[in-house]
Every structure is written in C-alpha cells, then in structure tokens.
Symmetry: C2
Subunit: 231 residues, 2 copies
C-alpha cells in the first residue's frame, strides 16, 4: 500500500512571507532605503503582522535588511567597503567550490555548468536577464561542489549583494559588457580537466577582477553624478 505523504515543510506563513519579500528585494521591486511597513505588507499578503515581523527579523539577521533608526526595517544599502567585502567572500567560497567541483563534481553537475555558461554566452537583451544568467552560472559551479553548506553561503551572499546591483542599475552603467565569457570558460576548462587548483584560481581571479572593474565603473559613475544627493 502506498499513500502520498503530506509535504508539510514551509507551510509556515513566516516562510512564505520571507520568500516573497526576499524575491521582491532580489528582483528590485523594493529599492534600498525604502521603508517596509509591517501592516502594509501584512495586508498585501493577507496575513497578520506576526509572520511578517518574523520574516523581517530573519531578513535583518541575514543582512538583507537593516533596522531603521526610528524602528522598523529598510532595505540595506551597501557602501563601497561592504561591496568589496562581499565580493571577497564570494571569491573565497566560490573559488573553493570550483576546486571541489573539479575534484569530485558529478558528470551531470558539470554538464549543468556547461549549459548555464552556454545560456549566458548567448548575450541576453536586458540587464536584469544578464545578471540572472550570470548568477546561474556561478550557482551551477557551487552546486557541483556537492556541498549544501556552500550553496547556503552562496545564496546568502548573493542576496546581500543585491543592493549593489540595484545601485548599479540606478546608474545604468553598462555592467553587461564585462566580458565574463572567457573567464567562465577558463573555469570550465579547468573543471573538465579535473584541475582543482586551476579552477579555484580561475574563479577567484574572475570574481576579484570583476569587482575591480565594477568598482571602477561605479566610481566614475558617481563622479559624474557628483552633487546628486548621496541618499
């Protein structure tokens, strides 16, 4: 006899709310600095303030939100130092993940990386799509490391770095032409060759050089806009 077991994970309202808000931040529907009013969110999702509050608290502990001076929460905006810090953490985590992927990645995981890179190579039209495809490439590599802890860490860091993305978007800088393809292929080659050290080095370098490039773009954009309110 065989009955379907009820899947009762995440039947928690707080988790549902968390997902919604997190997705809204990721997709940029909520901008950095914007204030989140519990009652409004609760009404929109048709739940009470309690699960909303729980979700906000959790998002704060993960660094996505910060508590405003006057109580309550707002989307956190990162300064340049924090952006750098975030990228360095990505370099550490993803670099090591690339090593593990090269050393023990299962064939289907590696095939997944390959297809993600192919998808990203086909130049997407919008900035948003480009960001997302890039994320999927990096995430595929981390997945191939076959270690849930790495994946958690990756998702957490990526979520935090979103405020930077919004900032960049605001400036409409052309981050899309960062020429990620050659770097991605270098990492893939090393993984296919089973060369852990080279894979780690390649991905670490890719992330760190991407950081410098983006910071450069960002700074010039800020210089141009000098005088505009720094929020």
């Amino acid at each position: 006899m065989k009955f379907e077991r009820l899947e009762r994970s995440s039947v928690r309202l707080a988790d549902f709310v968390y997902e919604q808000i997190f997705a809204a931040v990721l997709s940029g529907q909520i901008s950095p600095g914007e204030r989140l009013v519990q009652e409004v969110l609760a009404d929109q999702m048709d739940v009470s303030r309690t699960p909303v509050r729980e979700a906000l608290l959790r998002l704060e502990s993960e660094g996505i939100l910060e508590s405003s001076d006057r109580g309550g929460f707002m989307v956190r905006s990162l300064d340049v130092g924090e952006i750098r810090g975030t990228y360095e953490l990505r370099a550490a985590v993803e670099g090591f993940a690339a090593r593990l992927a090269a050393e023990r990645g299962r064939p289907e995981s590696i095939a997944h990386i390959k297809s993600a890179i192919a998808a990203a190579d086909a130049r997407p039209t919008t900035l948003d799509a480009g960001f997302e495809l890039n994320r999927l490439v990096h995430r595929a590599i981390v997945e191939a490391a076959d270690n849930p802890a790495f994946l958690d860490s990756f998702d957490s860091v990526w979520g935090r770095s979103q405020s930077f993305r919004m900032f960049a978007k605001l400036h409409e800088t052309e981050l899309r032409f960062l020429d990620a393809e050659p770097d991605h292929h270098a990492v893939l080659d090393a993984i296919l060759a089973g060369d852990g050290s080279r894979a780690q080095q390649a991905l670490t370098d890719h992330i760190l050089s991407g950081l410098e490039l983006q910071l450069g773009v960002l700074e010039s954009a800020m210089a141009v806009e000098a005088g505009t309110d720094p929020v």
Copy 2:
C-alpha cells in the same frame, strides 16, 4: 554641552533571547535532539512567547536548530556528511581569510593572532577550554582579514558545527591531542612573511587534515559503541 546618547541597539527582546539560547547551545547546556518548548523558555527568561519564537525562527534559519516533525524546534544534530561539508566551508572561508591577513593584515591584528596561538599552546586542562582557545586562534586569523563579512560567515559556521563538538564530547574522544600547534605556527609564519598563498594553503590543509583526523577518531569511537542507541 554634552549628553550621553542612549544606546538603543539590541533593546529588542528577541535579540536578547537569541543570545541566550545561542550561548546555551554553544556551551552545551542544551544537547542535540533536545526539544525546545517556547513557553518554558519564555518563563525562564521572563518574556512572552513572541520574542522567543522569533529567536527560535532565526536560529533555525541559521542552521542551529531544526523544526521537529511535530512542530517546534530542537537542536540540530549533524550527520557525518554535514560535518564534512561544514569543515570544507571553513577551509574555504578561513583559508582565504589567512591569505588576506598575510597580504594586508594590520600589525596589531597579527599580534593578536600571535598571542592567541601562544595561549592555545599552553595546553589547557579541559576539553572545553581547548576548544575555545582553538576557536579564538581561528577567529583571530579571520579578524585579521579585516572583512566583517568573513567574520559573520565564520561565526555562523562555527555555531553550526557545535553539534559536532557535543557529539565528540559525548564520546569523550581525545580530540584534544590533535597537535594543532605546528599547523598554527605554519600559518603564522606565512602571515608574518606576507606570503598569502602559503598562508591560505597552510590553513586550508590544517582544517581539512583536522577534519579527517576527527572523522577517523569519531568513526572508531562509533564502531566501539556499536549497538548503543544511535539517537
């Protein structure tokens, strides 16, 4: 005129409760598998169930607790795969932190590492003290990387790995004689020499070899106890 400004951070009951429970798990006052009843905790700390619940939810999202089948939370116990995963993440994060420390660590931060190692070298009497001194050595290295994101990540991972420690303690295996000293000194030497690659390599190796050693000890301990209830 000068008045003291009220420090109003962490006047949040949920944060207070979080700290308490986290510390209790870290120090082993609450064992893995143990069920946490909201009302009991609330009574003990003289707050209502709401902040307790918020703290528990946050601890769950950080992987310290897990939600029991019958609702509610319990201290999470790791299986061997998760222990391995956690150590690998530590290797990634701390390894890179060691590199950064070597490349740009401020003198006083490096001095701090040195004194932490000295403290750990003076063989502590109890297992608990040994664990704590070891943690402080590793944390000092991460601090020297001068990147708050790394510290957050370190603290989070360390917290999660505590269930392993409890497990080890349970078995009273002699983890204390793992000879960490030579490894620690190797890392310190590389940092003092400003050799980032060597520092990264040394710390990564130290953590991974420590993992293998502990897993070995653990497995033999479990083999000896075969037949005992696996909880």
